[in-house]
Amino acid sequence: MMHVLTLALKDLRLLARDRVGFFFTCAFPLLYAIFFGAIFSGSAGDRAGISVVVADLDQTPESAAFVEELRASSALEITLAGSEEAALDHVRRGRQTGAVILPPGFGQARSNPFSGSAATLRLAVDPARSAERGLLEGVVTERLFASLAQLFGDPLAARDLARRSQAGLAHRAATDPFVGAAVLPFLQSLESFMDQAVQQDGAPDDDAHAAPAGGLRPFAIEHVDVARNRSGEPPTAFAVSFPQAISWALIGCAAAFGISLVVERTRGTLPRLLVAPIRVGHLLAGKALACFTATVAVCVFLLLVGCTVFGIRPVAPALLALAVPVAASAFVGIMMLLSVLGRTEAAAGGIGWSILLIMAMVGGGMVPQFIMPAWMQHVGAVSPVSWTIRLLDGALWRGTTASDFATQSAALLGIGLGGLLLGIIVFRRRIAAS
């Protein structure tokens, strides 16, 4: 055992002094996690607009016109829902950031701002997304005010509005003193003012249409809190990028140690080791132990950074503690297999990295598998990287069942064992034949 430890310590020391190897096993994965985590975290705010689902329950020309006004806003990306519940469900599932509900009567109230009933709409947003909520309310309010200002900017439309409003309120003059004493005289003055403007064939200036609107509250916004159901979604983009980064660390370790065995052979240290009073098994066990130790150490380092700096909170810490050595074991086997694929350093490096990069590409190491097409996800299932990320995702944020974890662990351990045995057999044969 002392021989195995001696060999492993030597390999770890060599790795620590190999700047390129150290970069690819430790620094690169960390950079990857931070870079892609930051990109995915920041993407929501950089999109063309807030994604909003609109349920037009009023189904009037006025409500349809308002939907089109919202659609014209560059700050919003509008989709339509047939019912309020459907719209709220979109928000609940996280498909859209918020919902705008236009209830029955919205169009009528909006077209008659002096009718006494405000045009009411409902905004539904996850209370946790306060920034998006404020932005959405601002955009909707701006749209409502803009349509009102547009109305008063057209003297003919404003005069007709004043006339319609007087007709609509006339029957309340007797019962409501405020309507008889204040509102109706105001509407008569407004009608007279707009009539003069029409006759002068001139448009009122900004002050003229701004004044009538000032102080009016012709609409109301009701807020509906819709808590988003986050099960099955990563709490943060870093929860996605760190498992990917760990897969890169595993890849880096497998490549570095796989190539190191070839380097031992080509640079002559392997014969010197083989003439020492140790067994070939000691030699390979030392290499495997070093690879395993380095892999676990880098994984732990990345997870510590992820948890302490980037706020990842593992949903199953105990499973995570098991997942790391399981994944490391798989890549130790892959390392052993890679070490016998090439006879020269360049060949081993080229073949090894080619295989590992393809594994990463189809297995979700480069882009998350859940954004890949379904067929590509099926293809990726053959990659140990995919199994590793699924195992880590399950323990970190996705949640997992005991049977899923056991299946994924068994697959990885099987890959590791297969690679280890195949690598050892080929290595021993090569030594015997050389």
């Binding site: 002392m2 020391r13 002559g268 240290t269 014969p271 010197r272 009073p277």
Partner: protein, 284 residues
């Protein structure tokens, strides 16, 4: 200490070692000479256990073959390639290999210091091996082979590619080891080294033993006559084989035309060329 009996090894159709037998007594320094492709490296690989033999036996210290861990523990090997880790320091390299031979603690530290001192590298103990000169690397290669105090030392061209100072230091070290009773199997292309260091020499060619004996024996038996080289007054030079140099010399001294003369005695290189019919490879 080392007995090789009827050793055979083939690589496909090529016979690398063909019924080779020789032995080295305890404390003896045995030189293994031969041209490129003669089978020296294959023989060394079989003796060190890196290659299995197709036939024949290798016994070391009357214990067993090189596959026996106890035999390996008493054998030191300095391969022709510089077999250590450039990224480790000299002391780390020596200690690492020492641990593989079950040295540890104060014993390991003491042996490391001893071998560093022996090869003259104590002042560079903390330097990375990769930063050392070629001569230092050769000496480190030797130091690693010595750290566990082997009784049999197998050296494959230990002075290849080194400067004269390092070569002299290595030769001094090896003479010291021979004096302390270490058995040495020494392969080299440098005849003067073999002549200086080796008690006996085995010459092999095409995998077979072609001559064996002490350097002086080999020269006497296979070196051929001495050569008298003379320069005449007109500037011409002549080389005259002389079975009896004394008589030839006396005759030449009567010749007034001869302005200058000297005797070239046969060397191991002459022996080698006479036995193998080919020149040695270029000196490293």
């Amino acid at each position: 200490m080392l007995q090789i009996h009827h050793l055979r090894r083939r690589f496909g159709p090529m016979t690398a070692v063909d019924d080779l037998s020789f032995a080295a007594a305890p404390g003896e320094c045995l030189g293994l000479l031969g041209p490129n492709g003669a089978g020296k490296s294959t023989t060394v690989s079989i003796v060190t256990g890196l290659l299995p033999a197709d036939g024949g036996t290798v016994r070391i210290a009357d214990r067993g073959g090189p596959g026996d861990p106890a035999v390996r523990a008493m054998t030191g090997v300095a391969p022709q390639a510089l077999a250590f880790y450039d990224e480790l320091t000299l002391i780390e390299n020596i200690r690492f290999f020492g641990r593989l031979y079950d040295l540890a603690g104060p014993r390991l530290r003491a042996r490391t210091a001893e071998v560093l001192d022996l090869v003259g590298l104590s002042d560079r103990a903390g330097s990375r091996a990769g930063t050392c000169s070629g001569g230092m690397k050769r000496r480190l290669n030797l130091a690693i082979a010595l750290v566990h105090g082997p009784r049999l030392l197998i050296l494959d061209e230990p002075t290849a590619g080194v400067d004269p100072q390092s070569r002299a230091a290595i030769m001094d070290t090896l003479e010291h080891l021979r004096a302390t009773g270490v058995t040495i199997l020494y392969t080299t292309h440098l005849m003067e080294e073999a002549e200086r260091l080796c008690d006996r020499i085995v010459v092999i060619d095409r995998g077979r033993l072609v001559a064996e004996g002490t350097p002086s024996d080999l020269i006497r038996r296979h070196g051929g006559p001495a050569t008298i080289v003379l320069r005449r007054a007109d500037g011409t030079a002549e080389r005259l084989p002389a079975a009896s140099p004394r008589d030839t010399l006396l005759a030449l001294l009567q010749d007034r035309d001869v302005m200058e003369l000297h005797i070239e005695r046969p060397t191991l290189e002459t022996v080698f060329l006479n036995l193998t019919g080919r020149a040695l490879r270029d000196e490293a």
